[in-house]
């Protein structure tokens, strides 16, 4: 249990930007709303586009930082229906979360045309903690924590063309707690699981002219098969079972283009296709049969049928002078969750993201920066019959405010 606390300090997370994927992992990416694929300029290239490591100056590059994520409460106003004749008023809200997300990026000096780097990031996750009775029945707490170690290589094929790629080592933890006691249902679930998974990422950058970058990156799907134990309670008596639940960290394909004017102003557009359709169902599996009275609530497969999403990002980088760089970004993000399968553990909706940030050169080697991103979620109303889980009403609130502070070092 002590070790779990350590994890919470390190990775207490996580943000709901595009369901439970968190693309922003550095000063620049946060300030630009992750419109940061084609024109990456620092150690964070190792994560966002390893091919671009080939175009960095011939030094070692490093960036470390911390993001404070403030997650406002999600609110629900409506009723929860269990059948055509049983429904209950179910207004409720989640806890507000304030979380710290660390990151670390490194890029080596070139060795011929090859360069290596590595990133330690928190690329996905979510946490929802409801305190209202009918939401607690489904998601008293639903937390997914993900840490990624991503060593990468780049190879400069030509002065204007490079490729890159790497291995993804993912450590993930999941917590699922459900408690029907306050809703008059004598059932409860406590589940903790973890897993280590592997994947890969690929990247390429082509510079048709000195001021235009074209880039494509791909991160593979990784199924997070959280393996652990579940305590299932009927009344006040619980039993422990081996348990597993799998959620995907979906594949993502990015196409990006950037143009720089007078070495001062850069505009970048990113199109991202995220393959959320890998998330077909939420299926808890137990090592032995569970109490029959709990099967419908805790064992039956819950359809999710998420759909692939398109995200459009635009970011502008303006070098005010040799020491100060200003950045702004805008993102139009799409939820992968269809209305019929929206659930309390992740009441995700379409969103717009607004971001800005600044980098200040402190010395020739050290730059510090600050960035802020606001994630504005749309409200959504579920009419009777819209949702297979019996949710009738409106979700509002949610979103996120993220503040990143970081330092880069070149040596």
């Amino acid at each position: 249990m002590k070790k779990i606390v350590i994890l919470s300090i390190v990775t207490s997370s996580l943000v709901m930007a595009g369901a439970y994927k968190v693309p922003e992992q550095s000063i620049n990416s946060m300030a630009l709303g992750a419109a940061y694929i084609a024109h990456t300029t620092g150690a964070d290239s190792a994560y966002f586009n390893p091919a671009n490591m080939s175009f960095l100056s011939d030094k070692q590059h490093m960036e470390a930082g911390l993001t404070l994520a403030h997650l406002p409460e999600n609110r629900f106003s409506g009723v929860q229906a269990f059948s055509a004749t049983e429904f209950h008023p179910a207004d409720g809200k989640t806890e507000t979360e304030n979380l710290l997300l660390p990151y670390l990026h490194y890029v080596s000096k070139p060795i011929g045309n090859i360069r290596w780097g590595a990133s330690l990031t928190v690329p996905g996750g979510l946490t929802k903690r409801w305190k209202s009775p009918y939401q607690k029945l489904f998601a008293e707490e639903f937390t997914l924590k993900v840490i990624e170690l991503n060593p990468v290589l780049s190879y400069k094929i030509a002065d204007n063309f490079a490729i890159g790629g790497g291995a993804r080592f993912i450590y993930s933890e999941g917590v699922v707690n459900s408690d029907g006691g306050d809703a008059g249902k004598a059932i409860k679930r406590e589940m903790e699981g973890n897993t280590v998974e592997y994947g890969y990422n690929l990247a390429m950058t082509y510079k048709p002219t000195s001021d235009i970058n074209l880039a494509a990156t791909y991160r593979s799907n990784i199924d997070l098969a959280e393996d652990g134990q579940a305590n299932l309670y009927l009344g006040e008596v619980g039993k422990q079972f081996d348990a597993e639940v799998t959620v995907p960290l979906p594949a993502a394909l990015n196409f990006a283009i950037s143009k720089t004017w007078a070495d001062k102003v850069t505009l970048e557009f990113v199109y991202e296709r995220t393959y959320w359709s890998a998330y077909e169902s939420l299926d808890f599996k137990y090592g032995s049969p569970i109490q029959p009275a709990l099967v419908s609530s805790f064992d039956d497969l819950k359809a999710r049928n998420w759909k692939d999403t398109d995200t459009f990002r635009v970011g502008a980088t303006i070098e005010m002078n040799n020491d100060i760089t200003f950045m702004v970004g805008y993102t139009k993000d799409e939820t992968p969750a269809p209305k019929e399968n929206i659930s309390y553990e992740l009441p995700d909706t379409d969103a717009e993201l607004f971001s800005m940030g600044i980098r200040v050169k402190a010395t020739d080697a050290i730059t510090w920066g600050l960035a802020y991103l606001h994630d504005e979620k749309e409200s959504i109303t579920l009419m009777p019959g819209d949702n297979h889980g019996g949710i009738i009403g409106s979700f509002s609130g949610g979103g996120a405010d993220l503040f990143t502070a970081g330092v880069t070092y070149e040596f």
Binding site: M62, E192, G235, K239
Partner: protein, 414 residues
């Protein structure tokens, strides 16, 4: 570079050690000499019973807490067997009752074949209140004792001594004693009231238990309400074996199997092949009654019948035939109980005829019993029509719970 190494050195160990902990086991109530298997609050029980139409908003409903208790008893052969039973207590009782202590009801269950249907197995597997103990405990406020019987629960590998007097009584009495020790060790306050009841095979076991308790004089019984049991086995056997077909072949097949074991007889001299060879598998606790019936014949005897014609012929022809003597030896109707006995039976019972209870009442009274009465369920509850053995069970339990509650109220005030 040194800084990089330092950063990685700090970060990676944290990455590697995180999350190695396991989820703590459920924080269930710890008890000495058993384990808690069901715990539903009074609020939960009431909501559940209202949803099932068993009570209304104005009804008093108590919580339901059940413990599985292992104990030791003696089988028909006189050997010790490790068995199990379910002890259910009401929670949320008035403080005055906590002072007085709970009255006990020993509730012997009816005929089962699948181990999954044993009281402790149901409670352990399902984790929910079940069956008659809901009526007796959550609605009646009694502490309910349900032995699994030999052959079920912790003794599933032993044959079940079906309708065998000695071991059914021992199993019940030893469980009452085990519960008293368990209650003392776990500060569950009981009073001195002990009621006995049970339905069908459990009705038979109830009278067997009462007879042994009175003979041993170690325990005192407040009242016994056996329900729908085959108390006079000889009459029951005559009735069944003289009929051309069996209403429930598994009952009689189990009887033949158990008596062959207990009286050291070759099974094929009682049950025809191929049924004799199948029976050890059919009654090993893995199958429900319906599945067993499907493997047997409904013809009573003859070449294609369940029972060996020679066995049946000997039963009818020879008063000294071992099975005739065994039926007499294991009957529980012909003695004089000192305890108040209420024989609860439905007049429409097609499995255990009402006449068996009439014979029992008449025999006991003829032998000098002063407080034995037969209570017909339908007439007492004002039902419009007679009901079957299966329909009668829960109504009989409701009636018995009411009778026991009236006695408790009259004697100890709640």
């Amino acid at each position: 570079m040194n800084q990089l190494i330092k950063s990685v050195a700090i970060t990676l160990p944290i990455f590697l050690i995180i999350g190695c902990g396991d989820l703590d086991k459920p924080s269930n109530e710890r008890v000495i000499g058993g384990e808690i298997v069901v715990d539903f609050s009074a609020k939960m029980m009431k909501e559940s019973l209202i949803s099932q139409g068993m009570v209304d908003e104005n009804s008093t409903v108590f919580g339901y807490k059940a413990y599985k208790i292992p104990y030791t008893t003696t089988d028909e052969e006189g050997l010790e067997v490790k068995v199990s039973g379910l002890f259910v207590i009401p929670t949320g009782m008035p403080p005055a009752v906590d002072e007085i202590g709970l009255s006990m009801v020993s509730d012997d269950h009816g005929t089962i074949f699948a181990n999954a249907d044993a009281p402790t197995v149901i409670a352990s597997n399902y984790g929910t209140p079940d069956g008659s103990s809901i009526i007796l405990t959550s609605m009646g406020g009694f502490a309910t004792l349900q032995p699994d019987y030999i052959g079920f629960g912790d003794s599933n590998d032993h044959y079940h001594p079906f309708i065998l007097k000695k071991s059914l009584a021992s199993t019940t009495i030893d469980f009452i004693k085990a519960v008293k020790i368990f209650s003392t060790n776990n500060e569950i306050k009981l009073n001195n009231q002990l009621f006995l009841t049970g339905y069908s095979e459990g009705g038979y076991a109830t009278l067997a238990t009462l007879q042994k308790i009175e003979a041993d004089a170690e325990l005192t019984v407040t009242m016994a309400n056996p329900m729908a049991g085959p108390y006079d086995l000889n009459v029951t056997a005559f009735g069944v074996l003289s009929a051309p077909t069996l209403s429930v072949p598994s009952f009689m097949a189990e009887l033949g199997y158990a008596y062959a074991k207990a009286y050291d007889q070759t099974l094929s001299t009682i049950i025809n092949e191929p049924y004799a060879s199948k029976l050890p598998t059919l009654v090993n606790g893995s199958l429900q009654r319906e599945a067993i019936d499907a493997e047997l014949t409904y013809e009573t005897t003859g070449v294609n019948g369940l029972f060996n014609p020679t066995f049946v012929g000997n039963f009818f022809a020879d008063p000294n035939y071992w099975f005739r003597e065994a039926m007499v030896e294991n009957s529980v109707h012909a003695w004089k109980p000192k305890t108040s006995v209420r024989l609860i039976h439905c007049e429409g019972d097609e499995v255990i005829p009402y006449g068996i209870a009439q014979i029992t009442e008449a025999t006991m009274k003829a032998m000098g019993a002063e407080d034995v009465a037969l209570i017909p369920v339908e007439a007492t509850l004002g039902l419009d029509a007679n009901i079957t053995h299966g329909e009668c069970g829960m109504k009989a339990y409701g009636l018995t719970t009411q009778i026991f509650s009236d006695v408790r109220k009259a004697t100890i005030g709640y």
